[in-house]
């Protein structure tokens, strides 16, 4: 269970460039729920995710997972409970390291790294190969290739696997398919939904596509000017069309949808 309480975030506070990115966000996500997050550029969706992940510290408010307060912990100290996949496939993985070395990094997450061989014995290697096989991309045959030689979609699938390799609680997906071609995007999205179900992960996914926001997950929130303007789930959400969302968007912001990307794709 992820709990965000009264969170305010201001960038460049006290200067002419001060931006209030989050202005009082409350969000409770029960364990295993898959929430899609939409909103225009600057609405605060990425800030919300960065704040949960620990890259951005709130001025006010708290963030907790399963009752454990994480507000003051840096990103690396939260990595044991929170896994992330970034928008840019190059950020989630290390290009010069092989596929298995990248996975080995993820396999040591959340504990002190020592002087044991990172790739470990045959058992660890077998486990990593087996995990790769789950992706269904044939990557188990390229286990020693540098990740930089994989396609964007394959790298993003590896990122997703790395984020969820060890038992953890919250999965953060920050427009993780925006840089992929449509085919690869669909594959990675399906994989994300599958992992969310299989491991009962609390999932937050930011997307630029209203279609994706409604097609995936159990609940959709819409952010406007640093606040949650719409929060819809269950039966009501199933009746929603992209048009409904756009209508609500207009009513909430008082302006029509200008961002083509929100509607298209």
């Amino acid at each position: 269970m992820l709990s965000v309480r009264g969170v305010h975030v201001t960038f460049n506070p006290g200067t002419a460039l001060a931006v209030e990115a989050l202005r009082g966000v409350d969000l409770d996500v029960p364990a295993g729920q898959f929430v899609t997050v939409i909103g225009t550029n600057g609405a605060g969706k990425s800030t919300l995710l960065s704040m949960v992940a620990g890259d951005v510290r709130p001025d006010r408010g708290r963030v907790a997972v399963d009752g454990k307060d994480l507000t003051l912990l840096p990103a690396r100290a939260r990595a044991g409970v929170i896994g992330r996949v970034f928008q840019d496939p190059r950020i989630g993985t290390c290009a010069s390291l092989s596929v298995e070395e990248n996975l080995a990094l993820a396999a040591s997450r959340g504990r002190r790294r020592n002087l044991r061989n990172a790739l470990g014995g045959s058992r660890r290697r077998a486990f990593l190969a087996e995990q790769l096989e789950r992706l269904g991309l044939g990557l188990q045959d390229r286990i020693t290739s540098p990740v930089g030689t994989l396609s964007g979609g394959q790298r993003q699938a590896v990122s997703l696997l790395m984020a969820t390799l060890l038992p953890m609680k919250v999965l953060i997906l920050d427009e993780h398919t925006a840089a992929l071609d449509p085919g690869a995007a669909a594959q990675v999205l399906a994989l994300s939904a599958e992992i969310n179900k299989e491991q009962a992960l609390t999932t937050l996914m930011v997307t630029h596509s209203m279609r994706q926001a409604l097609d995936y997950g159990d609940r959709t929130i819409m952010m406007t000017a640093g606040r949650i303007a719409l929060d819809v789930a269950g039966e009501e959400r199933r009746r929603y069309e992209v048009g409904t969302l756009m209508e609500l968007f207009k009513r909430n912001t008082g302006e029509p949808v200008e961002d083509d990307q929100l509607v298209l794709s």
């Binding site: 690396r76 290390c94 290009a95 990094l105 040591s108 020592n114 790395m162």
Partner: protein
């Protein structure tokens, strides 16, 4: 070129291969342009020489040089990650401070090891006091350090260090403490440089406060030559490249000096080295201009030394 000059060149090459390994650790793996090296090299020499002159076992004195180098690296690391001093400046500050510290350690601008027992002495009775005795001992040491470094970089900690240097955002998402990796890497890097300084002093018979000038550029030149010869991404080959690059570099310098190419003399060494590095960096830029951003050996160096274009 005389055999004497040749064995001298190979000895120097083997010693500087340790500097090249240190530079590989900081510049390549950590992505930290560390200039501490010009200070930690004479620091290792001074610590070892003073130890030996005061009756310390030469092996312990060499270990003292390693430890002193590692501490110097830690100081640069702390200045950078704990106190927020820019990495380039942090190295320069430590380097400058070490000049005074080295003078304090030795109590004079240099310390002679003439007639003292060194790490090479026991092997002179073992292998015999020949022209190549020192070179053989140094080759064994350089190879051992290379293998140790290869092993370390395959451990969980070593792999985390490589990830941290290449992609710190990803590293922290995998719970890696980037600051700690800088500290660990800088200590190891300058420990190797301190070892090089300690061995150099024992090889030439003197530790001198100004012997460090140009060490960093020589280390870079050696690493770059190694990368040009072995175009491999694998760590084990990159470290072979550091060894081979340093030996080749000192060999070419010795040839140029003995043949009087372009009238080059010993005092021109740092100028030649700086030119080699400058040409290598410019050549890598020309090669990558307009091409797709492929991650090859020199792209890192390029991004370290050339101004970034805004995107």
């Amino acid at each position: 070129m005389s055999m004497f000059a040749l064995s001298g060149a190979i000895e120097a090459g083997l010693i500087f291969s340790l500097v090249a390994l240190g530079v590989y650790m900081s510049f390549r793996l950590l992505n930290f342009p560390d200039l501490t090296v010009d200070g930690s090299f004479p620091l290792g020499a001074a610590a070892a020489a003073v130890g030996i002159v005061n009756g310390l076992n030469p092996f312990l004195a060499t270990a003292l040089g390693v430890a002193a180098g590692a501490v110097a690296g830690l100081v640069t690391g702390v200045l950078n990650v704990r106190l927020g001093v820019m990495n380039l400046l942090a190295g320069i500050l430590t380097m400058v401070a070490l000049y005074s510290i080295n003078l304090r350690i030795m109590g004079s601008p240099n310390t002679s090891l003439y007639g003292s027992e060194t790490v090479f002495t026991p092997f002179e009775s073992l292998i015999g006091p020949g022209l190549w005795t020192n070179a053989i001992v140094l080759a064994v040491i350089a190879l051992a350090v290379k293998l140790l470094l290869d092993w370390f970089l395959r451990t969980e900690l070593g792999l985390a260090l490589r990830a941290s240097g290449e992609n710190p955002v990803m590293a922290s998402a995998q719970s890696i403490d980037n600051d700690r990796m800088v500290l660990v890497g800088m200590a190891i890097s300058n420990g190797m440089v301190g070892l090089a300084g300690a061995l150099f002093a024992q090889s030439v018979g003197v530790a001198d406060v100004s012997m460090g000038i140009g060490t960093i550029v020589t280390g870079l030149a050696a690493m770059i030559i190694g990368e040009a010869v072995f175009k491999a991404r694998k760590v084990a080959w990159a470290t072979v490249g550091c060894l081979a690059g340093a030996i080749l570099y000192r060999f070419f310098i010795a040839v140029a000096l003995s043949a009087g190419v372009l009238g080059i003399q010993a005092q021109d060494l740092n100028l030649v080295t700086a030119l080699v590095v400058a040409v290598a960096v410019v050549a890598s830029k020309a090669r990558f201009a307009g091409a797709a951003r492929v991650r090859l050996g020199m792209t890192r160096l390029r991004s370290t030394f050339q101004p970034q274009r805004g995107g």
